[in-house]
Each structure stands twice: as structure tokens, then as C-alpha cells.
Symmetry: C2
Subunit: 202 residues, 2 copies
DNA sequence: CGACGATACGGACCCCGGGTCCGGATTGCA
DNA sequence: TGCAATCCGGACCCGGGGTCCGTATCGTCG
């Protein structure tokens, strides 16, 4: 319960590590070639320090991720439309997905590292469950959708880090093309198709 | 000149390893807790033998996967509808996806192992590119779809091993429910939506 | 300002798993 | 049966995540 304040050098080192790791991941082609020892070295710090500060590799990744995600999270939770809560569902869903996609595009390596190294399923990571819960709850507000839970998973799956990396990296697909494709997909999924009869606006 | 026939004990050991690995993966909760040494031991064989036969871990996984996949592949390539080539596209797409899903449900651990351990992106694995190419080519035959390539990726993403594992395993979602959801999603995506095509691309 | 307890530092060290190597056993062909 | 090609297998290496503890640093109190 007591928030004991850390020593100053501890805080400084923590930042140094974060910065070094951020940089190393950004440069590296593949996250798995960035080792903990490398990060420690780049931060001018011992491995012990690094592990004391973050617990383990996944912890460090999470910390980095969380930091980068902060602005987006805020825009989603308390921001103006089209991301904020005041947006009508059928408009917010594509906005949310676009935000996720853009985030992953801007943080490819990091997202990749977190997903493929995050100690088990990405689906147990709390940041994933947050996105999923949110997206599902928004989907649920759209009439005519029956399986919002699965739909949320499926839509998020289209923004997975390794897929994004593959398309944007290996296949040089331009950012906006990809966004358009995702938007298109989303539209189709939500879309007023003849097979269900939602379509009505409110 | 290649095709040098292997010695009999070699062949026998190869099968033993395959069987042992198959079994071990099937039992284990998480594939990463199955070690190469374990497999060798279970097969009553030395590690050297194992690595000589399959090159590396990924090679073994691929071999196992390929073997399991064989019947499905045949059904798809030369079988009767709804999987075979003679099926009309808008009917074949859901059939293909359902087949993939079922396969992953029946081989959860194995698929999981292959995806999360397959030496880099799953998107470079040739078995993925095969599914993708096929699905894309079928999608292309459906009028009104513009970005078949991305669509194929997105739809396949909904059947990813770790997602399947999460839903079927952790959340105890019944097999048929999941299939229904996927079918529903597919229908929505293909849905004869006259909502026009915004994305300009080539 | 000096000193002392609490905290952090850091790199040597451990563990574990994938992958290699080579002396010895097997196979198969004549 | 003899011989060469092939294969066997477990001891061994290496690289990376994670730990430990003697030492340096902090910051607080007298």
C-alpha cells in the first residue's frame, strides 16, 4: 500500500533504460535480436538494474508500450469524436480500429516484440483485453450485430503486429492504402448488407 | 541424383520421432514446454538423430503440420464441393475458412507451436502463403470485391492459432459456435453489399 | 558536516534449451 | 564375411534470460 518513492538514481536509470530500449527496438529489424544485455549496455547500466526495474523482459516491453500508448488511450477515453466516447457507434468503430492500426504502424517493432515475446498468448495481455472490451461494447450498441465478442476479436486480428509488419514492411504497402483496406473491411462487416437488416440509422 | 534412399533405421527413427512429438504436443498445455530433448527421449532416440532428420525445431514442426494437413490439402485441391475447385466462389470461401478453422481446432497445440515458434513471421511460412494465395484467388472471382489480397489476410487472421486457442481453450467456446461466428463474419464480408467500393488501389 | 541505515548498482554467475560433433555401432552390398 | 557408407547418440558448446551479493550511492538524522 505504501508508495515508497524511489531513489533519484533509480528513476534516472529507469528512464535511461526506457530510452535505450526504445531506440534499440526502433533500429533493429527484428525485435528478437535485441537482447537484454544489449539494452543494459546501451543504457550504460548493469543487467541487474534493468531486471530490478522491470522484473523481466515482458515487463520492460509492457512499460514501453504503455508509455507510447498513453496519448491514444486518453484520446479514446476522454477525447473528442471520432475517437472519444461521444461518437456514435457505427462511426467510432472504424475510428478505433484506425487508431489501433496507426499505432501499430508507428510502433511496428515494439508491438511486434510485445506480441511475439509477451510470455504467452497476446490474448491474455491486459492491453489487448482493454481494446477488446471497448470495441465489443461499442459494437454491442450497433443494432443487428449478434456476436460482438467474436467480431471484436476478428477485427482486432486484422491489425495484429506481425500482419502489419508483413504488409507494411515486407510488401511495402503504403500506410494509407492499408488504412483504406481496414476501413473498407470494417465497413463491410458493419455494413448494411441485405443478409441482415440493420441499416436503419438512429 | 538427389533421391538417395535412406537407410531403414533412419526411416524408422524418423517415424518414431514424428509419433512421439505428435503425442507430446497433444498432451502439453503449452507447446513451448515441449523441448527437443524431451521429444528425443520420448522417441527413444538421441538428439543428434532428431536434428539430422529435421534440421531444426521449425523443421520438425513443419513436418508434423504437413502430415496432418495432407488430407485437407487434397480435399481442397482435387476434392468435391464445397471444398474442391468446382465450387462457386461465394460458397467456397466460407467452406475454405471453415476447413482452416476446423483444422486448427483439431490441432490446436500443433498449430500454436508452429505459429509462435516458426522462426519469424508466420506470414513467411509457405503453408500460410498457400492458403493466402488460394483464398485470394477465390475472392478475386467474386465481383464487387476490390482488395482481395488484404481481405484474404484479414479473414485468415480470424482463424489464427492463438485466437482459436484462446476462444476454444480459455473461454470454452463450443466448436460449432465458433464455426458459426466465423461463417457469420464471412457472410458479412462477402455480403453482396452494393455499398460501392471506396478504396482506390491496384 | 559526518556518519549510518537503506537502497541501488553491476557484472560475474547460473540455468536451460537449441544446435553441433565425432567416435563407435549398423546397414547393406558384394 | 568384409568393407565403406551411413547413421546413432549423448557429451558438448553457445547464447540469452534471470539471479546474487559485495560494493557504491543516496539521503537523512544528529
Amino acid at each position: 500500500m505504501p508508495e515508497r518513492k524511489p531513489r533519484q538514481d533509480a528513476a534516472r536509470n529507469r528512464k535511461a533504460v526506457l530510452a535505450a530500449a526504445d531506440d534499440l527496438f526502433a533500429r533493429s529489424d527484428s525485435p528478437e535480436e535485441v537482447t537484454m544485455a544489449d539494452i543494459a549496455a546501451a543504457a550504460g547500466v548493469g543487467k541487474g538494474t534493468l531486471f530490478r526495474a522491470f522484473g523481466d523482459r515482458a515487463g520492460l516491453l509492457r512499460a514501453l508500450y504503455e508509455a507510447r500508448l498513453e496519448p491514444v488511450r486518453e484520446a479514446v477515453e476522454t477525447g473528442p469524436p471520432p475517437l472519444g466516447p461521444a461518437t456514435p457507434p457505427h462511426q467510432r468503430v472504424p475510428a478505433l480500429l484506425d487508431a489501433v492500426l496507426c499505432f501499430k504502424l508507428d510502433n511496428r517493432r515494439l508491438a511486434l516484440a510485445l506480441e511475439e515475446d509477451g510470455s504467452g498468448s497476446p490474448y491474455q495481455a491486459e492491453h489487448y483485453t482493454r481494446w477488446h472490451r471497448l470495441l465489443r461494447s461499442v459494437l454491442e450498441q450497433i443494432p443487428g450485430l449478434t456476436d460482438s465478442d467474436y467480431l471484436a476479436h476478428a477485427l482486432l486480428a486484422a491489425t495484429r503486429a506481425d500482419l502489419v509488419e508483413h504488409l507494411a514492411g515486407r510488401e511495402r504497402l503504403p500506410r494509407d492504402t492499408m488504412r483504406a483496406h481496414l476501413a473498407h473491411l470494417t465497413a463491410r462487416v458493419l455494413g448494411s448488407g441485405p443478409l441482415t437488416a440493420p441499416a436503419t440509422e438512429n
